[in-house]
Amino acid sequence: MAHEHKLEIFRGLLKFKSNVTKIWGVFAFLCLVTAVEVVLGIVKPEALTHSHILAMKTLNWIFIILTLVKAYYITWDFMHMRDETKGMRRSVVWTAVFLICYLILILLIEGDYIFDVYKVGHVKFNF
């Protein structure tokens, strides 16, 4: 079996000399992203918790986007998705992403609807 690794990350911006140095590079990057998340989670800057983008706090958008960034590098570099064929990559990623987005959309809309029913309905819950 051939074990050819693609050694550049950030769209070719950073190219590593060997697979091992690439692993450590990705590890450093993941730690950095986690550290940013933790610091933001402790500080919770007012500017980010009081502004909203598409009905969600800006801070929460930042957390979710950083999570997806981490997920990308774990899948692409640790799980070697970068080295798989295009067909393999797409059949795994597109399937999962489509189904998960659909599920989240449906369930969150439904949850929000039930929240409204509880809020304006005749049954009292605050006792």
């Binding site: 091992v20 929460n60 774990i74 798989e84 795994v92 369930l107």
Partner: protein, 326 residues
């Protein structure tokens, strides 16, 4: 391997069977099938968590107030620190796993052994941390009172800081005993009784005129609403039902019982994955030592179990975000 396969003589043709468009071995392919379906299972859980949270969006517990404990630092509040450590441990064990895979590609038995060992240690530290996190959550911290409507009310002082029941309630002598199987009919029993009764809490609250009650409802700043002294007394005396200490599947001193249910279910399912991952890693580790893969001339099995291990890490990244950050 080649010798056992029947040849049709048409392997070069597109549909002849010799074509491998995905260029992945059978085992790796099946591992990806499993990972995709398992990812959908976890998404189902996390989406259900999102559903319940949206349903009770105005009363959901604030994670930073729930997970504040760090081992050996008693009575101090450090939200995020311990879970950040757990995340770091899991990412680190992912790194040693991928290094083991890389050493496997070079057929370097000594290095595979070392890295597999480190991965197992990382996994064990993570599972242990999770067990500690569970124990702390189950034991609880401040205690609270559940109302007739099933809501949780908590106690704060004039500055708005939480006050634990043990700091203002004195347990009065009580006749009430825990019902055990030996006392009534054989099928009758109950869980352990709370340390204090509701009446103890009410008299303790009366004796401390600066204390107030905090409800589950979040105000526009994202903090829990604190009632005035008059409202607090009324709320406790009219609506209070029983004392809650810690969390289980029925009640939860931090707020909605659903929060505890999802916490136990999702982190439990994830912890179970880590545990099975550790067990599989141990099996592979011994096989590496015995030289099984050395003889086989391929360490591909390390790659397959590595895929599973990274997947567990991947799931944790999402659990971390949706349980502790958002």
């Amino acid at each position: 391997m080649e010798a056992t396969l029947a040849k049709t003589g048409t392997e070069e043709k597109t549909w002849g069977g010799g074509n491998r468009p995905l260029n992945a071995s059978y085992g790796k392919m099946m591992m990806w099938f499993f990972i995709v379906s398992d990812a959908l299972t976890f998404s189902g859980f996390l989406a259900a968590y999102g559903f319940s949270r949206f349903k009770f969006i105005e009363t959901w517990p604030i994670a930073d107030e729930v997970f504040t404990h760090v081992p050996f630092l008693h009575g101090q509040e450090h939200p995020m620190i311990y879970v950040a450590f757990m995340t770091f441990v899991l990412i680190m064990s992912s790194v040693t796993m991928v290094l083991a895979v890389d050493a496997g590609h070079h057929l370097n038995k000594a290095k595979v052994t070392l890295y597999m060992f480190l991965t197992i240690i990382g996994g064990l530290i993570f599972v242990g941390s999770q067990a500690w996190e569970w124990a702390t959550f189950i034991k609880g911290d401040y205690g609270a009172v559940q109302t007739k409507g099933g809501n949780i009310i908590q106690f704060v002082n004039a500055e708005g800081h939480r006050v634990a029941l043990r700091d203002f309630v004195v347990a009065a002598p009580t006749e009430r005993e825990q019902l055990e199987r030996k006392d009534g009919f054989w099928f009758q029993k109950e869980g352990s009784l709370p340390t204090y009764t509701l009446n103890d809490v009410i008299s303790g609250f009366d004796a401390h005129p600066d204390m107030l009650i905090r409800t589950q409802t979040l105000n526009e700043h994202g903090h829990k609403t604190v009632l005035s002294r008059g409202e607090s007394l009324q709320m406790l005396k009219n609506n209070g039902k029983h004392v809650v200490e810690g969390a289980n599947l029925h009640e939860n001193e931090y707020g909605s019982p659903l929060f505890a249910d999802f916490f136990f279910f999702i982190t439990g399912f994830h912890g179970f994955h880590v545990l099975t991952g550790v067990i599989i890693n141990i099996i592979i580790f011994f096989n590496v030592i015995l030289g099984t893969y050395e003889k086989r001339g391929s360490y591909e099995i390390v790659e397959k179990v590595g895929l599973y291990w990274h997947f567990v890490d991947l799931v944790w990244v999402f659990v971390f975000t949706f349980f502790y950050l958002v």
